[in-house]
């Protein structure tokens, strides 16, 4: 650990650079304040904090010329996801918002111990493949999704939104080289609410300071199928 080079202060905006222990000890108090400042200024590129107060992406809604209450989308009302838990591998983490880097790639959470959700994807519990990513390790040891690789079909993943834990059932796990990432399978449209959990795996390329592979866990909505409210006006009894 002591062999790690000391990074400049700007490193705080780069999640991949951990803080060497001596520096962390020396500046831990100051760093907290600095991080807050950097979070505010660099929040867009980091994809966390600054969007927390914004409403979730608008859900398509039709407003035809008819009387009556405006349709209320319970999912939109529930707001963004706040927490993930995976009992089988003892994971429980709050969720930060994740955005895109300069190359259009999904950025990872700044904190090795915290998972994040992709804010420009779909919302967990709403139709589509919601994405949650977390680190497999830091410079020093295991991180929040270190045991993600242990998940198997049938395991349960729960995401908290609006005070409710939404259950998802794992249906598949896979590992892919990052240069052959299956974008369509992970991010493509789905007919139900689904979930993707992503971390790193495979060999660590020390020259690139990057894992060769991504581990992806695929899960689907484990709630009973629902009957939405009708917007039509038909007879209600026989």
């Amino acid at each position: 650990m002591g062999a790690e080079p000391i990074r400049p202060a700007s490193a705080v905006t780069r999640h991949r650079w951990g803080w060497p222990a001596p520096v962390r000890r020396a500046v831990s108090l100051g760093l907290t304040a600095t991080t807050l400042v950097f979070s505010a200024t660099a929040g867009t590129s980091l994809g966390f904090a600054t969007r927390a107060d914004e409403p979730p992406p608008a859900t398509p809604r039709w407003q035809a010329g008819f009387r009556g209450a405006a349709p209320v989308d319970p999912v939109a009302v529930a707001g963004p996801p706040t927490e993930v838990r995976i009992p089988r591998i003892d994971v429980r983490s709050t969720l930060v918002g994740l955005g895109l880097g300069a190359g259009g790639e999904l950025t990872a959470p700044a904190d090795f111990g915290t998972a994040g959700w992709y804010e420009r994807g779909t919302l967990p519990g709403e139709t589509g493949p919601a994405v949650i990513a977390g680190h497999v390790d830091s410079y020093r040891g295991p991180a929040v999704f270190y045991r993600l690789r242990e998940l198997r079909p049938g395991d349960t993943v729960e995401v908290r939104r609006g005070g409710e834990w939404l259950p998802f059932r794992v249906v598949a796990t896979a590992r892919y080289p990052k240069d052959a990432f299956p974008t369509e399978a992970v991010y493509g449209a789905t007919p139900r609410a689904e979930l993707r959990l992503i971390t790193c795996g495979g060999e660590f390329d020390r020259a690139k300071r990057s894992y060769r592979d991504n581990v992806v866990v695929y899960a689907v909505d484990d709630r009973a199928a629902r009957l939405p409210e009708s917007k039509g006006a038909g007879p209600r009894s026989w």
Partner: protein, 287 residues
């Protein structure tokens, strides 16, 4: 819904065994399904008959492999979530609300599900000539930046409708009651759809159509004339990221069991020293 569909135990065991094999083989790249759940197709149920009171809808597997399920008291205008079902032929039946499940159904229709296929099984037409229609849904994603939309016409208040996106393409022309148009691709974004009887004036519906997403627009009898309900058939995120994710710093790489065993004593000593340090430093908040 009274029951959840369930795979037969043997299938579950097979799936588990297959999964274990995959995992044992080191998860060969590309082994994951194109859609998350392999080996299923999709069925959703709908009541689109404007003058028919609520019905109980049953889905049964005549082969007996999948447990039957029931939606109670489905009123006009409702389209259910998709059910994921193993490939096979299923019987969808409708009974009067509250009718004895053992009584003969009023209507029954078969629907054949293949892997990845999707179907909307709907009660359609007027009550006098009520039928069950199987509407095939195309869940293949439109290109990035484009959306796919079709119209399901289920209102008797306008027997024929022209549907046009203002400043864009026609979604359907002369669309008759109890029919469904083909999907039409449009640019993602905000649209106003004009729904009007041929040569007449009609209703405008404003909406936002997301890229990569497929929609069915239901045209329904509302309290005063037409109303619409936009259903998502399949949805993707707003922006698709490029490539993978950098989610590791390497702190656990290169660890192997023999190495760990050999380094055990060193680790223990280190932990003891670290523990003393940690006690002075307080809890570590992050890794």
């Amino acid at each position: 819904m009274r029951h959840r569909p369930a795979l037969p135990r043997t299938s579950r065991r097979l799936a588990a065994a297959a999964g274990a094999l995959l995992i044992g083989a080191g998860l060969v790249a590309g082994a994951a399904p194109a859609s998350a759940e392999a080996g299923v197709g999709y069925v959703r149920l709908a009541h689109l008959s404007p003058d028919t009171p609520p019905v109980d809808v049953y889905v049964d597997d005549p082969a007996g492999k999948v447990k039957g399920l029931t939606f109670d008291a489905v009123p006009y205008g409702v389209v259910s979530d998709y059910l994921a079902l193993p490939p096979g032929t299923y019987a969808v039946s409708m009974r009067k609300q509250g009718a004895d499940p053992a009584s003969p159904p009023v209507l029954t229709q078969q629907v054949t599900v293949t892997e990845g296929s999707a179907h909307t099984v709907a009660g359609t037409g007027r009550f006098a000539d009520l039928g069950i229609s199987v509407i095939d849904d195309d869940l293949t994603a439109p290109p990035p930046g484009r959306a796919k939309v079709r119209v399901v016409h289920a209102s008797v208040k306008a027997p024929l409708l022209d549907i046009r996106a203002a400043g864009g393409p026609a979604i359907g022309t002369g669309v008759a009651f109890a029919t469904t148009t083909a999907y039409q691709e449009v640019e993602a974004g905000d649209w106003t759809l004009d729904l009007a009887p041929p040569g007449g004036t009609g209703t405008a519906a404003a909406c936002t159509l997301a890229g990569g997403t497929t929609y069915s627009l239901l045209v329904l009898d509302g309290p005063d004339g037409l109303t619409t309900d936009l259903k998502v058939d399949a949805k993707a995120g707003e922006v698709t990221p490029t490539g993978g994710v950098e989610t590791g710093a390497g702190g656990t790489s290169g660890r192997s069991a023999p190495l760990l065993a050999g380094a055990g004593a060193v680790l223990l000593a280190g932990l003891a020293a670290g523990g003393a340090l940690a006690a002075r430093r307080g809890p570590r908040r992050t890794w």
